[in-house]
């Protein structure tokens, strides 16, 4: 291409091509804002790192706009500001999460070992070192397991009713009450079972009573997530099955449910993750104990969230109890995380293949 032709080509492109900031510019602006914020913070003698961070975020957004508006024009500047606000919001959301994980791991690993996982607090005073969370793991597994066994069938069947059969007033009423149930505070669910199980039936504390309260909390979550997943199944699949002369119930069982089972499993796992961390109903109904109780139907049991709370409450300033509380928190987070990973694995494994 001759020189003149190249220039002509450039001139022709100029209506489509404007000045663009280089790809690394957002990083440069972010770095510059952090440096400037540190300088301002030190200069003005601001103690709080949160203030430094806010200044940096503000400088980043404003700086992006000023620089982009000068070089690229106003439309691109607005686009870049929107992008930078999204990034700032993301960082603001991630910082507490990362710091929580960091603090839990850092403080939790001190006593987190095989001994801790395989021993109870039976003969260990709360203020002394030693002991573990074996009894609490047993309690959590049993209570959450029973709650899941109760609420998943009821919740899934309710969702199937709402999506596949429910018409008119009854379906509207069920949807309304499921929404109301979603908002029930856990302590209220605990008090409800307390008044029914312990005050009316005059039965003692047990893991099962806790499971009942937990299933009240779990059921609406299962209904909602299952309902959404069933709605995602294309109507054409139902019609294809019905047109083959397959009865409706078999269509639901063999076509609709298998198509959505991955999503339903994820929803159930998230519901389990939610109730695993509940403390209030367990405190009211299961009471907690330092001893191993394998029978969920009789006597007080422990559970992980309750263990954390009681170690903290009964520590009397003892570091041993604090360490155990943190290690138990780490175990709880790990448990929920493993559940989530399992759910993702199942969802991927069962997802419709393309």
């Amino acid at each position: 291409m001759t020189h003149a032709a190249a220039r002509a080509a450039q001139a022709r492109r100029s209506t489509l091509q404007g000045a663009r900031l280089p790809r690394w510019s957002p990083w440069a602006i972010a770095g510059g804002s952090v440096v400037a914020a540190v300088a301002v913070g030190l200069g003005a003698g601001l103690d709080s790192r949160i203030q430094w961070g806010l200044i940096a975020a503000l400088l980043f957004v404003l700086g992006t706009y000023a620089i982009a508006a000068r070089t690229e024009g106003r439309r691109q500047a607005r686009d870049r500001v929107a992008t930078s606000v999204v990034w700032v919001a993301f960082v603001v959301a991630v910082i507490p999460l990362a710091s929580l994980l960091y603090a839990t791991v850092k403080r939790g690993v001190k006593v987190f070992n095989g001994y801790f996982l395989s021993h109870s607090m039976g003969v260990v005073a709360d203020t002394e070192p030693g002991g573990g969370i074996y009894h609490a793991i047993i309690g959590t597994l049993e209570q959450v397991g029973i709650a899941t066994l109760i609420s998943v069938p009821i919740g899934a069947l309710t969702a199937i009713y709402l999506v596949e059969y429910g018409r008119g007033k009854l379906a509207a009423a069920v949807t309304f009450f499921v929404d109301v149930m979603t908002g029930i505070p856990s302590i209220v669910a605990g008090l409800f079972i307390l008044s029914f199980w312990i005050l009316i039936l005059d039965l003692g504390p047990s893991g099962f009573a806790g499971s009942l309260a937990l299933s009240i909390l779990m059921m609406p979550v299962v209904v909602r997530s299952t309902e959404e997943m069933l709605k995602l199944v294309p109507n054409e699949l139902r019609e294809a099955s019905l047109a083959l002369g397959v009865p409706k119930w078999r269509t639901i069982l063999k076509v609709v449910l298998p198509t959505s089972v991955g999503g339903i499993t994820t929803g159930v796992m998230l519901a389990i993750a939610r109730i695993t961390g509940e403390t209030a109903p367990v405190l009211l109904l299961v009471w907690g104990t330092g001893f191993i109780n394998n029978n969920p139907f009789e006597g007080a049991q422990a559970s992980l969230p309750l263990y954390i709370y009681q170690q903290y409450a009964n520590s009397a300033g003892s570091n041993a109890a604090y360490d155990r509380a943190w290690a138990a928190a780490l175990a709880l987070i790990a448990f929920v995380m493993i559940l989530n990973l399992v759910a993702r694995g199942i969802a991927r494994w069962k997802a419709p293949r393309h």
């Binding site: 054409e236 047109a243 397959v246 076509v255 198509t259 293949r353």
Partner: protein, 258 residues
């Protein structure tokens, strides 16, 4: 075994809306009958009344008679599930079951109905896939998911799935409208072969297609938007396309409206 369909005084509703009104016609066995007409004239609705799929839609109900070899599909003790086993259906968009393999898709009708002998299942699947002209393309990957096939192959898979349960009648609701010309040709050839065994009713927007594949053609129309659709005339395809007895049919076919 192909069966004759006799419709008399059929009216279908969606809730309080009357979609088609007072339709009477006879569909001959071992032949292809095409339904043509402008959008919204009730061709698909009418097709769906022929295997009681219309009532699956919320508020869908039907008045009138549909006789399948002298048996009324809307009689008091008739089970819609049994009707759909006798009158199969292929839909506009290919809809293989996404969780199932090619083999399982074809076997789905039999398996889900529970009416099969295990030893015969493989033969039926092979026969149905051959019947749908798909066997040679998929015989080496029967265990692969059906949704991995091309659109035209998926539609032939759906036809194989429909004929695997040995229906007497096969309803096709615009089976080629989502397909390219080559896949369309494959399906049209297939329709020509299938009419030896089944009574075939096909809804189509493509008048050349109706002229190519059908023995008889029915023209549907509606007098105005919101009015129920009606059957204008039904006759030999050659006659409908050369010398129809109603002016509206000629106007529609020659492209003067619709």
């Amino acid at each position: 075994m192909a069966k004759r369909i006799d419709v008399s005084g059929l009216t279908a509703y969606y809730g309080s809306h009357k979609a088609i009104e007072d339709i009477s016609m006879t569909v001959e066995p071992r032949s292809v009958t095409a339904f043509i007409g402008p959008s919204g004239c009730g061709k698909s609705t009418f097709l769906r009344t022929l295997n009681r799929m219309h009532e699956v839609t919320t508020g869908g109900r039907v008045e009138g008679k549909v006789l399948l070899d002298d048996e009324d599909l809307y009689g008091t003790h008739v089970d819609p599930v049994a009707v759909r086993r006798t009158v199969g259906m292929v839909f506009q968009r290919p809809n293989p079951f996404p969780t199932m393999s090619i083999y399982d898709n074809v076997a789905a009708g039999l398996r889900l109905n529970g009416s099969y002998k295990k030893s015969e299942l493989g033969d039926i699947v092979e026969k149905s896939l051959k019947g749908a002209n798909l066997w040679n393309e998929v015989k080496d990957r029967l265990n692969k998911p059906g949704s991995g096939l091309s659109g035209g192959q998926q539609q032939r898979l759906c036809i194989a799935r429909a004929i695997a349960v040995e229906p007497d009648v096969l309803l096709m609701d615009e089976p080629c409208s989502a397909l390219d010309p080559i896949s369309t040709l494959a399906i049209e050839d297939l329709i020509g072969e299938l009419k030896e065994r089944f009574t075939i009713v096909i809804v189509t927007h493509n008048m050349q297609q109706a002229a190519r594949v059908s023995d008889r053609t029915a023209f549907f129309n509606l007098s105005a938007v919101g009015q129920p659709g009606r059957l204008i005339e039904i006759d030999e395809t050659e006659r409908i396309f050369s010398n129809p007895s109603v002016q509206a049919t000629e106007d529609y076919i020659s492209g003067r409206f619709g």
